[in-house]
């Protein structure tokens, strides 16, 4: 079997505490992301989601464990992995085109101006910002700024996109529109994505796999939920699908209750952090991971949610 694009091997982050061993924000985190997969990480604030993303990006070192991208260990940031920051992180002294061009010129140092401009234009058009190229970030709305952030990240044609709650600072209408666009772009480009969110509906709409993280300290990945909705789902008829509420209830039940007291549950069940249980709401028992599972079709007469969880 091929190596996954990303393999995370037992990473932990500890902060030194006064007198003695530091407390771990999270530990023993193992997971893998396949080429072309859209993976969401969901959990309460403070469980170290952003730290995990920063470690994947190479911006922060892990206290323990390793991250491999296509079999090679990560030891710093790379153009392989583009980051979309929560706060968009645009440079306010550059125009929209200038912000994207800064990234493109960093990726392809030898390109001349015309080539850089043409390449930037493709991605500015892709995120529907045609006509705003000469504007500065201060003249843009929050949604438009985040579009520029997306264009900047995609323009360097990374192997992997890392998104840190990219839509959380936006109003509900703009968020919905951008989610749809993200879905369209990711389908068109077959982009591999790792996204952090605490919006359950966002995760169900976008992700192929949803990783559930327990509360910190010593947070870990409790479960991997496979999205059993059809691949061509969209925001408008998502909630009509019979699996939608099964997935949604499962996620909410976890966030509200199980994420807090997961340790007891884990002890009772023989939880192995190296292979967190894979759950397919609406598709029967929890089962070991099967490749290509996200392409599975919904089945009528699936067992109830309780049966799946326990």
């Amino acid at each position: 079997m091929n190596d996954p694009l990303i393999r995370v091997d037992g990473i932990a982050k500890r902060f030194p505490a006064r007198g003695g061993a530091g407390t771990a924000v999270f530990e023993n985190v193992h997971f893998a992301i396949e080429q072309g997969e859209f993976v969401c990480l969901i959990g309460h604030s403070g469980c170290g989601k952003t730290t995990i993303l920063n470690i994947l990006a190479g911006l922060e070192p892990a206290s323990e464990g390793y991250v491999f991208v296509a079999g090679r260990e990560v030891n710093g940031p790379s153009l392989d992995r583009a980051v979309i920051f929560q706060s968009h992180a645009l440079m306010p002294w550059l125009t929209v085109a200038g912000n994207v061009a800064f990234a493109v010129a960093s990726r392809w140092r030898g390109w001349n101006k015309a080539k850089v401009r043409a390449h930037c234009q493709r991605y500015i058009d892709l995120v529907n910002l045609t006509g705003s190229e000469r504007k500065r970030p201060a003249e843009l709305s929050g949604g438009m700024k985040q579009r520029v952030g997306i264009a900047r990240a995609l323009a360097i044609e990374p192997r992997m996109l890392l998104m840190d709650e990219p839509f959380s600072a936006l109003d509900a209408l703009t968020r919905g529109m951008l989610q749809e666009e993200a879905l369209r772009i990711c389908r068109e480009t077959r982009q591999t994505v790792f996204m952090i969110t605490h919006d359950v509906d966002e995760a169900i709409l976008l992700a192929d796999k949803i990783m559930l993280m327990t509360n910190g300290p010593c947070a870990k990945i409790a479960e991997i939920v496979v999205n059993t909705l059809p691949c061509d789902r969209n925001r408008h008829d998502l909630h009509r699908h019979p699996h939608y509420y099964r997935i949604r209830n499962h996620l909410i039940e976890f966030l509200v209750g199980r994420s807090r007291a997961f340790d007891e549950e884990a002890a009772a069940r023989g939880y192995d952090p190296r292979h967190p249980p894979v759950v397919k709401p609406g598709l029967g028992e929890a089962m070991p991971e099967v490749s290509g599972a996200h392409a599975a079709r919904p089945q009528p007469g699936a067992k109830s949610l309780r049966a799946v969880v326990n």
């Binding site: 190479g58 980051v83 920051f85 800064f102 960093s106 500065r136 201060a138």
Partner: protein, 280 residues
């Protein structure tokens, strides 16, 4: 409301100015009454003033005609003690600009390096804190002794007084560049030099320019005092020389000129600051 405020402030300014001129004029009117005056003083300030018929303080009309005189021929040069006010201002400006540019050449790169390294920032902080409050004129004897040239010493004094605001602001501006912009550069694998010039410099430019604006103001304040000490040329020397000549009219004209040039310098720097400022 907004419309009304448009002309109110200038009108009030004009009224205050007229009031000031009026008070000045009233206070310097000849009194007419005879007074007994110390004879030494009488010899110094002229018989009419000593007799009390005329105020020793020059009147409005005298100062106005003196200014007109200076404006008519600002650049004449009739020997070391008789140069036009324009020539003297030019000497002062040349010293200020030379000292200021030297300071910028040292302070901006140094501040940049200090701001990039938190260790350097903390290590150099005590030195800066001690050196900053020293009056630049205190350096004058040391400068005269080591440089052995009064004109160069004046430039040195300007250099040392312009240095600290630029250095501190540059270091602060560089140190407080937003983490996320640096992270963007890191994820794009941008080299350190390109990061310095394409990310840190534009991000810190408004803070750096603010330091440069503070510096030019201080430099223009200090040059007058420095030139009073070193003598020879410059607007400070001109003021001191006219004091020795007891020409208060010339001193008032020079004070006005110093103010106007100082304002112009500040405006140039303000314009430059606006060029590099970005709206967030």
């Amino acid at each position: 409301m907004k419309h009304a405020a448009g002309w109110r402030a200038p009108a009030l300014s004009a009224a205050l100015f007229l009031l000031f001129l009026g008070v000045w004029h009233a206070l310097t009117l000849p009194t007419g009454a005879q007074q007994s005056v110390d004879s030494e003083y009488a010899r110094l300030v002229g018989a009419a003033a000593a007799a009390g018929q005329k105020s020793a303080m020059p009147g409005l009309r005298e100062v106005a005609s003196k200014i007109r005189e200076h404006l008519k021929e600002p650049f004449y040069d009739r020997g070391p003690n008789d140069k036009g006010i324009g020539v003297q201002l030019a000497y002062s400006l040349a010293r200020v600009i030379a000292g200021y540019l030297l300071a910028a050449l040292v302070a901006v790169p140094t501040g940049f390096l200090v701001g990039m390294s938190p260790t350097m920032y903390r290590a150099l902080d005590p030195f800066i804190q001690v050196l900053k409050p020293i009056s630049p004129l205190a350096w004058m004897p040391l400068a005269l002794f080591t440089l052995k040239d009064s004109s160069v010493s004046a430039v040195f004094v300007i250099f040392i007084c312009s240095l600290w605001p630029m250095l501190i602001n540059t270091a602060f501006g560089v140190a407080s560049v937003r983490r996320e912009w640096l992270n963007v550069a890191r994820t794009l694998e941008v080299g350190p030099l390109r990061t310095a010039f394409r990310v840190i410099l534009p991000a810190a430019a408004p803070t750096i320019m603010t330091g440069m604006r503070i510096s030019i103001g201080i430099a223009w304040l200090v040059i007058v005092a420095a030139e009073m000490l070193v003598g020879g040329t410059g607007i400070g020397y001109f003021v001191w020389n006219e004091w020795n000549n007891l020409s208060l009219t010339n001193i008032l004209a020079a004070i006005l000129a110093i103010g106007v040039v100082g304002m112009a310098l500040d405006q140039v720097l303000a314009r430059l600051t606006r060029l590099v400022t970005f709206p967030e």
